[in-house]
Amino acid sequence: MSGDLLGWWGVPLAVLAGAIRVSTPFLFVSLGECITEKSGRINLGLEGTLVMGAMSGYAVSYLSGSPWLGVLAAGGAGALFGILHALICSLPRVNDIAVGIALMLFGIGLAFFLGKPFIQPQAPNLPSIPFGWWSDNAQVRDALRVNALFIIGVILAPVLLWCFRNTRWGLILRTVGDSADAARALGYAIGRVRLIATACGGFLAGVGGSFLSLSYPGSWSEGLSSGQGITAVALVIFARWNPMLCFWASLLFGGAAALGPALQSVGITQGYYLFNAAPYVLTLLIMILTCSRDRTLAGAPGELGVTR
């Protein structure tokens, strides 16, 4: 098939392309949250971390000229937020959900404050790898331009799963998450394990944020993130704390988020805003279907308050 018009076939193609493109922040945030929740703590602040990562990644990429340095900076900012969350949560009588909400609002505010000078200038973006070289069709080629960060995420998911199951670190993490008492009896420093887990989670969420500003949509603005962070937190519950399932769930959510723009591209503009809400509705429906009042979810870390 040649020529630029695929007609109705453009919709599934655009959804597929969108799934790959839009899913990257979901993927990174959910993998990060997966690590954090495995340690028995929930960080709802990742929405703020995502925005903070998007801003700092863009700013550093613009100032240094290197988008990869931007990605690192975004991860660093995210890790700092993770450390802050872990430190406050380690105090007695402090509720991790409330701290998450506070850091979400603080992160968004700080990112808007510091990001003001970077709204106009154009920073160098991350490279994409053209997997569609075999096709003459511009739409196919465009759809298969896959960003390098997505590929890193694809590799990261199985690696994390392997680490959780087969390494000493994974075992310690799961022990701390399943029973703090058991971990304490074995002599592990619970606070330190959770600190590291939350910092790693923040790092990945920051990297996910840098994808927003450095690849798609590819510039920094205050309306950049609208709930991707919190959707990803919910997605981890749906994925049963399994990194590979996080990957598939991220693709599903990316596809749902791409549905509105894809339909718009073939001329269906009715209900555009409602289609934009598709990932949130999908998240809610999945949570309704998979959660239960009477039993804790299979695979849930025992120390995690959110499932009780």
């Binding site: 709802l44 802050l84 406050i88 105090l91 007695p92 009588r93 402090v94 509720n95 959900i97 409330a98 701290v99 909400i101 506070a102 850091l103 609002l105 603080f106 992160g107 968004i108 505010g109 700080l110 808007f112 404050f113 003001k116 609208s226 709930g227 919190i230 959707t231 937190v233 919910a234 519950i237 209900g271 555009y272 805003y273 409602l274 934009n276 809400a277 949130y280 509705v281 998240t283 809610l284 949570m287 309704i288 959660c291 239960s292 009042r293 009477d294 959110v306 499932t307």
Partner: protein
């Protein structure tokens, strides 16, 4: 039986204890806010602005003149109502952060009912708008509560997801069937008409929404601390299993608390439409719902404390414009300060029972 530390018969010690508790409940949040202000001062110093200029401008913009006071109180009105949206479910141990969604849906419902009843008397219309907004908001938050009760869905995440869904529904309708064709650049619903707007409290520019908020807080206080229903809420908040064991209708408690919470936030949306903007458009979605969460936490979910705290936060919001104009600070400065206050107030939980001069002497 062991002697309890509070002996009811020893009334002097008993009153001392109550006094100590009350002092602590005021002192700890005040210390937290002061700590946040110091951190904020450091922050603006790093940003290249004199912190004392900032403080004095903030005071001037929030409480410095009658004009600033009116601005502050006008902003406090929706904050009081959205804070109730977080504080009521909190009595049951639930963290509901979806006040923004209920506010948006409530404002939309109010604007829609105003379009549906074009020729009614102002009072009738206002009542209809308030009822529609409260019903829509109540349904929105009760949905999150119901999902928690029947399906075990985490109410914090569900209520936040509902915010994004509410905004999508709002945009769809305001840019679609409810749009006033005359609103070109900023899609809006038709203006409800000047005669139908909520009036101001005599002698001021402050609309009656503030009074609604104060009355709602008083009612909430009576509900929580002076009724059997409120007692049941607090028991279930302390221990759900115990509440079920003694036969409390936990499901009904959750649904009603969330419904009332949503009704409060929905009323905030109606007040913003009927007293401030006159129509529903993007100006409604400015984050009152999120600031309301902070107000509720700062007030420790006590409805009576919500009123002064909302005035404080309303004042911080009101001073934002002045900071922008005089010092060139971005509008997000207020958000940074709010975030710092939120972090400080949660960290200050540690201080309860540990302030040296408020410690109970071992007897």
């Amino acid at each position: 039986m062991e002697a309890s530390p509070v002996r009811i018969d020893d009334s002097a010690a008993h009153w001392q204890d109550i006094l100590r508790g009350a002092t602590e409940a005021v002192a700890v949040p005040v210390l937290a806010v002061l700590a946040a202000l110091v951190l904020f001062g450091l922050f603006v110093t790093i940003a290249g602005v004199d912190p004392f200029d900032t403080y004095s401008l903030m005071y001037a913009g929030a409480f410095g003149s009658w004009f600033s006071w009116q601005n502050t109180l006008t902003r406090a009105a929706p904050l009081i109502l959205t804070a109730l949206c977080c504080a009521l479910p909190a009595q049951l141990g639930m963290v509901v952060i979806g006040g923004e969604g209920a506010l948006v849906i409530g404002g939309l419902a109010a604007a829609a009912i105003a379009m549906a009843l074009p020729d009614s008397a102002p009072l009738v219309l206002q009542i209809a708008m308030a009822i529609a907004a409260m019903a829509a908001g109540a349904a929105w938050v009760a949905l999150a509560g119901g999902l928690r009760h029947w399906r075990g869905v985490n109410e914090t995440i569900a209520s936040l997801l509902l915010v994004y869904i509410a905004v999508a529904v709002f945009n769809q309708l305001v840019e679609g069937v409810l749009r006033d064709p005359a609103s070109l650049n900023k899609p809006s619903t038709p203006h409800i008409g000047d005669a139908n707007m909520l009036t101001t409290i005599p002698g001021t520019d402050i609309h009656w929404g503030l009074a609604y908020g104060v009355i709602a807080c008083l009612l909430a206080y009576i509900l929580i601390y002076r009724t059997t229903f409120g007692f049941g809420m607090r028991v279930a908040g302390g221990n759900v299993k115990a509440a079920r064991m003694v036969g409390l209708p936990v499901g009904r408690l959750v649904l009603v608390a969330c419904g009332l919470a949503g009704a409060a936030a929905g009323l905030a949306g109606m007040v913003e439409v009927a007293a401030v903007h006159g129509k529903a458009n993007a100006s409604l979605i400015v984050g009152y719902g999120y600031t309301g969460i902070l107000v509720a936490f700062l007030a420790r979910h006590n409805p009576l404390a919500i009123v002064p705290v909302a005035i404080l936060l309303g004042g911080i919001g009101a001073s934002g414009g002045l900071l922008q104009r005089r010092l060139g600070l971005p509008d997000a400065t207020v958000l940074v300060l709010q975030g710092l206050i939120f972090i400080a107030i949660l960290t200050s939980e540690v201080l309860y029972g540990r302030l040296p001069w408020l410690k109970r002497k071992p007897s």
